[in-house]
Each structure stands twice: as C-alpha cells, then as structure tokens.
Symmetry: C3
Subunit: 352 residues, 3 copies
C-alpha cells in the first residue's frame, strides 16, 4: 500500500557514479544510471532481448549496454543498437521519470504524465553553503509505514535510544499534532533539561558548554508520500529555545526519506543537516556515525515489529495521543492510494 504517483528518493548520486544500479522501488525493478549528458536515467531493469538484468551491464558513452549480449539501450527505453541486428521492431521498455536534485535521485514509479518535477520535495538547506549534510542508507525489512510511525512519535527515544538521544523528559512532555494540508506536524518542547550524550557532543561541536541546562525541541514534519523532516536541537536554557540566537544553540534537521521496496521492506535514506560549524568535516563524520548507530537500533525494533504483526494477524493497534502523527500520516497515504485507484477505474472500465 503506497502511492505510486509521487517522487521517492531512489538513490544518492554516488551510487550510480561507477556503474548502473538495480533497485526495487514500490515493487518495480528499476535500473538507474547516468546517460550521455550525465543526466540520470531510470528504466525497467529488463533487457528486451532475453530478460537479462540491465543493471549488471555497463554504461558506455552514456548508453546502457546489456552485459549479456551487448544490446545498447537508450534513455528513452528504446533499443539503440545491437551487434549485427536490426533493432527497429524491438519492444520498448518502461521509462521512469527521474530527476537529480538536492543531492538525491528522485523517481516517480507511477503515471509519467503526472510527474511534475516541481512537486519534488524542496530541501532549502541542500544547496546552501550555510548548511552541512551527512547521511546513509539502510535496507529495512518492514512496511515503510512502521518507519513513519517511528519518526512521528519520538517517545521511543527514551527506550530505544536510551544511551544517545533518549531522556526521561521526552515521554513526560506531551506533544501537539496539527495538520497543514497534506503535511502533519508533531511538536515537543522540553525546557530546562540536561542534554543527553548525542546533544552534549553537538554542543561541544558548536563550541558551547555541555554541562548546563538546555531547552530541547523536536518538530516532526511528515510530507506525503513518506518524507519525514525533523527539526531538532537544544539551546542553552532561557535563551529562546527553538528561537534562540544561532550562537546559543545547536539546530539540525533529521532527514528521513522512506522509500517502499515491497509491502514489507523499504529503503531508508537517513541523514542530518545542520547549520552550525558547517565546515568541520570531522564533525559531519562523527554525527553521521552516531546517527547511524541510533538508527540501527530502530531497525532492529521495527523488523521485529513487522514479524510480530505478521505473526498476530488481524490485531487492532492502539492509537494514542503520541501516535497522532503517525495515524494522521497514514490517513493521508490511504487517501492518496484511494484517489489513485479511483482515477484508474474509469480507464479500466473503458478497457473492459
């Protein structure tokens, strides 16, 4: 259950620098590579000759050459040539709209006619010299919506991440959740608390004392189909919290692109954008490493949760106030999927 008419993060540019990349997204097997002009192309990962996996081939002068019998595939899904063959009548393979932007490759698995690049999620920090970014990719064997739930309810930090970003005040502080069109925002503000280890390290990373009370915030924003950007940070207590001046706080955006692979697995592109001490690459690497450890803890919990949901089919889950962010996000997803199915019906009716 995932919207298909949406831009999903498919990969990062470095994944297609050396060779083609085969990746399943929303159930589609897709090969990504750089075409002649360096632009990203996305095609069905299926050679029209004998069904070989195109992603096992190589890119020669911007064209994808099948690694089995040398069929040369164009970015438009039409065969360009094949040794000693006339290829004019070869069937075309499916082309997926794809755009490289903000440091990510975005793919649209649904109806190409609706794929408007203007709808790609805008990352204001991605191309700004005032921000630094580091991140990674995990393959997670659970429904992508369990990851959305996870990120829209950070009370789990107290339990899952007790040694890094968790602290008791998180689940003692109520959240507020609001709907802004197709976005859901869940916020929590904790004033005058001691920062947990991950944030103490970041305070030091911004040359601030790490042994004084802070005001801490978490503002989780879901955007359809499955992006969750979380404004997080701590400011020295009493300096304005979220609104404190830059030299009194550390402020970051947790970046989560959650791309379905199958109904029970997904690609999790995680990272952190920050606007302090942005030229310190060692700090970027350190944050990335710590964040990677934190998110590996989530992975273990979520994969077991997925197994459990399959083992206990038909169980109703609770929807508490802390779950509001996830629940409302799922409602948007469900509405989008229903709309797609309704839009598809007249066509099906006509075809019948």
């Amino acid at each position: 259950m995932f919207p298909r008419n949406a831009w999903y993060v498919a990969c990062t540019p470095d994944e297609i620098d050396e060779k083609p990349l085969g990746r399943q997204i929303c159930g589609e097997h897709i090969v990504f590579y750089r075409g002649a002009d360096g632009q990203v192309a996305a095609l069905e990962d299926f050679c029209p000759h004998r069904g070989a996996r195109l992603s096992l081939g190589q890119v020669c002068e911007g064209q994808l050459v099948c690694g089995y019998h040398g069929l040369v595939m164009g970015c438009d899904g039409r065969t360009v040539s094949m040794p000693s063959q006339r290829v004019g009548a070869f069937p075309a393979i499916r082309v997926f709209p794809v755009v490289e932007r903000h440091g990510f490759v975005w793919v649209w698995p649904g109806d190409p006619a609706q794929a408007d690049p203007a709808r790609i999620h805008h990352l204001f920090w991605a191309d700004s010299p005032d921000w630094a970014y580091g991140g990674g990719l995990y393959h997670v064997r659970c429904d992508y919506r369990l990851m959305i739930d996870n990120l829209m309810d950070l009370t789990h930090e107290t339990y899952v991440h007790s040694t890094s970003i968790g602290q008791k005040e998180i689940d003692e502080t109520p959240v507020s959740t609001k709907t802004e069109g197709d976005e859901i925002v869940t916020s929590r503000f904790m004033d005058n608390v001691m920062a947990p280890p991950f944030w103490r390290a970041n305070l030091r990373g911004n040359h601030l004392p790490d042994d004084q009370p802070v005001d801490r915030w978490q503002v989780c924003r879901f955007t359809a189909p499955s992006h969750v950007m979380i404004e997080v940070g701590v400011a020295l207590a009493g300096q304005g919290g979220y609104h404190a001046p830059s030299d009194q706080k550390v402020y970051s955006i947790v970046v989560d692109f959650i791309t379905p692979e199958t109904e029970t697995s997904h690609w999790y592109f995680w990272g952190m954008a920050r606007n302090f001490n942005v030229k310190d690459k060692a700090l970027t690497a350190q944050i990335r490493e710590n964040q990677g450890k934190v998110f590996a803890e989530d992975m273990a919990v979520l994969e077991a949760q997925q197994q459990n949901l399959l083992a206990f089919p038909g169980r109703k889950l609770l929807s508490l106030n802390i779950d509001a962010g996830g629940v409302r996000s799922r409602r948007i997803i469900e509405r989008l999927v229903a709309e797609e199915q309704q839009a598809a019906q007249p066509a099906a009716a006509q075809a019948a």
Copy 2:
C-alpha cells in the same frame, strides 16, 4: 498436530535470569520473564500499543517494560502504566499458565481453566541430593513426533550412534512394549555384552571396571504430551542387571522434553540424571558433552527425515514391532487432540 491442554517445558530458569525470553511454543509467540516476586510469567509476546515484541524489552522491578515506547505490562496481561497515558481501557493480552518446577519452566498453551499444576510431570530426581543432572537445548527442524519415534525405538543407536552408545546387540535383542494408561513403555534388556564407549566412560566414572561383560538395559517411557524418560544403564554381568546393587552398576535417566514450536520444528530439552558419583561436577560436564554430541547425530538424521517426508508426500510408513513405542505414543497424542477438538465444537456450534 499437538495437544494444547498440556504442560510443556518452555525453557530452563537460566534463560530468563538476565532478560525476557521470546519463544514460540505450539504456534504461540510467548514472552517469559520473572515477575516482581521472582515468579515466572508468560504472556503473548505482543505489546498492545503497537505490536512490538515485548521480549525485546526489559524487566524493571518485576514488570515487563516494552522496549519501544515504555508501556509497562503486568503479569496478568493488563497494562500497568505508560508514560503520560491512561491505560485503563487498553486491551489485555493473553496470559499463559506457567510454573517453575523441577528445574524447568512449564507452560500450558491451551485453555487456562484446565491448567492444573498437579498435572506437571513429576521428576522425583530433580530435587534430590542423591541425583545429579546435566542437559541442554537443541532447536530441531522437524515434527516433534519424529523425535518421539526416535526415542521410543533405540535400535537406531546401532546405526546413528555407532561410536558412542550403539552396539550390534541392540538390534538383535527384541523389545517389549506395553501401555500403562496414557504412558507407553518399551523395554530392552541385553545380558552379558561388552559396554560401548559411552558406558565404559560411565563405568569408570563410578569407579567400576570397564573391560568386563555387563548387563545393559533401556526402558523408554513416553508420557503425554511429549515427554520421554529413558532408564538406561549397565551393571557388571550377573549382578542383577537393572536390579543390581548401586555399587555394581551405573544407572541414569535420559531426560527428553520435546516441545513443539511449529508443525515442523520443536525445542528439544535433553539431559541425563544419574545417581552415581553425583558430586563430581567434571563427570556431569563430561556426560553432558558426550550426550550433546550423540543427540546432534539424531538431529541431522531427523531433519533430513522431515525434509524427505515433505518431498515424498502421502507415503505410508511401516509400523514394525520396534516402532510400537512410537506408534502407540502417537495414538495417544491423536486421541488427546481429537478430544480437545470435540470439546471445542459445542462452543463453536453455540457461537454459530
């Protein structure tokens, strides 16, 4: 196909000393842990909040705390508390009758109303200073009834365990099988034979000569649903065999608790209780190690047999005299399962 209204060995106490244990038994996913008073508790391994696996949480002051969002679960399956939540209306999860006794944790996967601890298999040796015990646990990927067959027909020792407990006289000596209520007993007595290596080591362990003829016995006792206790031993020949005085023999009970996991896998709790040289812990460790090797040989044969039965569906197997113990044991199991199904039918009819 397993009786559900029965006490099965679920785990040994050391498995829940440090943290909760998740284990599937008779198809049920169960978490075992020690509650406030140190008593064992057994619950569905499913947090009523979002379906997390409770066994990944931890026990705090005798209460099970979900490792995802901190829900505190009581031993009665009712939520005790959850940070910032009113939990009164939370759905209860299933509680399984569970008892710690004789050095094992016993669980009753069926109707709790029928779970009478008095029906737990009595192990007279377990709490006696005159006996020593050592054992282990194997996860075996076959129908638990194949293990019962295996243990109720020891002619396989000649072939599967030729280097330890097997000897040619085993399959040359007929067995007698009798039914005692819901117990099946298969016996074999071999007089004036040379002891095989495992028993020679035990003779030395009891300071007896290992190079003289012995009388050897094997008395296999099946008790529903799936316990097999085997009296085994050797006495110096002509001293009375099974009834020989203690200082002329080595006498042990092979302990086998065979707990179904799924239809094609089970937990095999194996061990040996002995009443000679009981304070010699090195001997206990040595017997345990040797027995572990022997039972690993069974595992390989049984898992291949399971695969074969799936590969050759519908084949009739032979029921020879040597199979009588297993065949009659299975009949008891089948009768118990049929009785459970019949008892369940009126309720189902009323519900319809």
Copy 3:
C-alpha cells in the same frame, strides 16, 4: 518442463566412490551408490521403513544400509533384510535405470521400460588415449533451458567473458544454424583474428606462437534432452582453420551436460576435451581452472536472469537470428515433453 524419458548425467564416478550420493534430478530425489559388483545403482532416496534419507546411510558389501535403523536395501529396490525383521512384505522403492559410461553416471528418470542404454550420448573422445578431459560441476539456480540458450548463442562471450574468451569479432560474425534430426548445430567461423587470452594460453600449451593471427571456430551442437557439445579452437591463420593439420591448431570440445534439478535449478557438468598435448596434466588443470572461472561468470548472469524472469512474468522474449540455436533446441524439448504427455494420457484415461 523437462523430458523424463532421457539419459541425463547424474554425477561423476568420484562422487560415489566413498559414500552414497543423494541428488535431486528432474524433481526426483535419488540415491546413487555402487552395488556389490561395483555397478552403479540408483534408487528413490527414501527408506521404506520410516522415510529416512538412504543417502545418509552407507554401503556395506555392495548393499545400501539405512543409517537410521539398519534396513538393508537391494539394488532392485527391495529390502534385503533388517535386523530382527521379516522383510518380505516391505514395499519396494523405485529403481531408476542407471549406467556408468564415458566417465559419467547416467540416469533415466522416466519410464524404465524405455531406458535403452544404446541411447546414451556417445562420447567418442572419452575412452580414447588421444584425448584428455578435465571438468567440474556447478549447481545453478535457473531453469536448465537458460543454460542451453547461453551455450547455443556464444555472442555473449564478448560481454560476459570479455577478459578470457570474448572478442569483438564474435558478435560481428554471423552464425548459421541448422537442424539435423533431433540435433541443432550453430556455427561461427572467424578468420584472421587475434586470439583472446584463453586461446593464447592454449596455443602456448600446444607449443604454437600466440602472437599471430588465427582462424577461430565455434560449432555448438545441442542433443536432446540437454547436452551441448561445442567444438572450439583456433588455427594459425590460413592453415585451413577448422580443417588445419593438428600441429597448426588447438582444437577442443566444450562439454556441457545440463541436468534439471527442479523447474528453476539444475546441475551443470562442464568440461573440456582436447586432442593436443594430452599427457600434460598441468595443462589439463590449468584449462580446467580457467574454464571454471569463465563458467562462473555465466552462472551469475543466468541466476539473475532467472530472478528477472520471475519478477517480470508473462513477458515475451525476442528470438533473433543469434537465438536460433536456443529457440530450436527448446522446440525439440517441448515436442519431447508433449509426446511424453500424450503417451501417458491413454493410460490415465484407462485408469479413470
């Protein structure tokens, strides 16, 4: 989809020298071993007593002894004896016609009445002192027909084996395909080309210069059900090519026996027979090692192709001129399978 009334290579003799071998062939689970007179026997891998895997037993004086309870099985599928049992009424297990010939063990998974050893593929080089042979076995997780396609269209060498036997001239040179009864022959002749590394090594192995132009040939011959023999070689250019005198060329036969295991896996017996420098065992070993590397490259491509065909069900594949060899081979296979099914129908109708 495989013919059952056919001789397939089951194993090589060394695989049954020490102990019985269990192998699935055309969906049948079969145990192979050497009987009393050293002759190979092939039976269902299923003990009629309790379904144990006979291949886990051992051969004693030419009889297969079940490793579980000592049942002694005869080469005719009838139980010979079992300790303390009368075995006259034991059900027989299925016997498969099996023949050792030409350095291979051949099995007939279908109707024994039709199993004529005269129909075993003749390998004229196998027993000749003028030839040397080396080969190996791979287990490949794809439909055996994908391997036939692979071997009947060597244009893939340019792409899959670019560092060993591939060269650009292969896919620039057209092939001719002809049908000879139930055999298909696809030929390609490349004159005045430079030999690729694998063939340069072979030229040196026959004490010929490796830096001069050669005439190269590939003659692929499919024989039902799934044998592909490929005459390959290079001769110093202008000496007659395929017909050049022996001291001016290196000539080999690539041997491929492709035995179905299941619908999506097979046993691939590969090797090379040569008639130059036949006593040089180091050369045999070197060729074998190089060939093994080359065929491992095919395996990776084919297993991914199989996965792709399952992921894109219902897609039509192209049948180009280069595919003629594989396409015609498949047609023969399909005809043989259809004939078997038709022959089976009257019997089925009578039975109904």
